[in-house]
């Protein structure tokens, strides 16, 4: 081993002049220089692997010196090999540093996205909760307001639905003209219809049994029409309102007394259910002792 080394070293010294054939040391040295320059030019090696790069540089210097002094020696080959491996190591340290740089950056990106996703989920949940709450509140509020208004209107729950009765005193005597005192009541009815857009009304005019049937029928129809017009004037769509005159049919009291006849002269406002449906009329009038045939 020592002898071959000596021989090789001697051969290298002899061969100092003839550099046309690349020797083992020369090849190794070329590889080391290339690896070192690659590492040196890499900014991530400069940043993360300066220690490894410096080791490679020092060893490469030793190899160059050995090559310069002794030519193709085993030591020159060995040192060049070590220099090359150290330069490659420096490059790998740079690759690792670069990857870890990116990992930090992408981790931040991911955290931001996760925060966004969480915020969005929260926003969505909050929005849904708010919507539900708003709907619940408004449903409650609507119901409460409706109850209050209907109570003030003294609405009566009947088989056909809620009925508000406008008494005879709301109209001028023997006329379809509404008195100023009817305004508050009409405002409230309009408010109920405004709050509850699904609801419809059927307005029915009635008279007492005195006088001509035809006249009674016509007056009751005109009174119903006047109420309808009053509601339309208050912003309620005409197609939500039906109106008809029923004359002396369906009395609510006896026509034998003045007080009874006054009660029978009335306009009834029948509210539909929440879906806009109005139940059909029962066969008999509410005043059972004096049933009258409905007029068709």
């Amino acid at each position: 081993m020592k002898r071959t080394a000596t021989l090789l070293a001697g051969a290298a010294l002899i061969c100092a002049g003839c550099q046309t054939v690349p020797s083992a040391a020369n090849l190794e040295l070329q590889g080391a220089r290339q690896a070192y320059h690659t590492a040196q030019d890499d900014p991530y090696v400069q940043k993360y692997g300066p220690v490894e790069l410096e080791r490679a540089r020092t060893t490469l210097q030793h190899a160059e010196a050995e090559w310069r002094d002794n030519g193709n020696s085993e030591l020159a080959t060995h040192l060049a090999y070590v220099a090359r491996q150290r330069a490659l190591t420096a490059t790998e340290v740079g690759v690792r540093g670069h990857a870890e740089d990116r990992i930090r950056f992408v981790s931040q990106q991911r955290d931001q996205l996760l925060a966004q996703a969480q915020t969005r989920d929260l926003d969505l949940a909050r929005m849904q909760a708010n919507d539900a709450q708003a709907q619940a509140l408004s449903a409650e509020q609507r119901a409460a307001r409706l109850q209050a208004q209907l109570a003030e209107l003294q609405a009566q729950q009947t088989e056909r639905g809620l009925i508000v009765t406008m008494a005879d005193v709301m109209f001028d005597v023997d006329s379809a003209r509404l008195r100023p005192g009817a305004s508050r009541m009409l405002d409230r009815i309009a408010a109920v219809l405004h709050d509850d857009p699904q609801r419809r009304v059927l307005i029915e005019g009635y008279s007492d049994s005195q006088g001509q049937d035809a006249y009674n029928l016509e007056l009751s129809a005109r009174r119903a029409g006047a109420v309808r017009q009053a509601l339309v004037d208050r912003g309620i769509s005409a197609d939500r309102i039906d109106a008809q005159g029923l004359g002396e049919a369906y009395p609510v009291a006896t026509n034998a007394t003045t007080a009874g006849r006054q009660l029978n002269r009335r306009v009834e406002i029948l509210f539909s259910d929440a879906t806009g449906h109005i139940a059909s009329r029962p066969l008999h009038g509410s005043y059972g002792s004096q049933p009258s045939a409905p007029m068709r």
Binding site: K2, A9, Q85, T89, V93, V95, A99, I103, V106, R110
Partner: protein
Amino acid sequence: MRHRLCAGGVAMGAALLLAGCAVTPAAPTAQLAASRTALDQARQAGAPQSAAIEYSTARDKLARAEAAFEAQDYTAAIRLSREAEVDAQLAQARAQSTRSQHALAELEQSVRALQAELDRTHRGGGS
């Protein structure tokens, strides 16, 4: 440290003088220990799997260095041992850079998936 530098200097000097075959270099015990440590660290970094060629080269050279040491061929022992050390260091560095690159690739994949999910829910929920 200073002692190690001295030892290194002596070894280097001995190597340079080898051409004349005058001096027998000192036994490279410290260098062999350093090579074993480097090989251990490379193994712990996963080099046998992710930098298999460099790792097995280092292991073979260390074995040859130890054989040369037994044969009291200290010049061969110190060179083989030093090569084993730098081979092991390269194996370790490759194993670590590979692991970092894999971690990065996985992270980037997860971010892309997250981004796509966000884009999807944004379009779906925004309407």
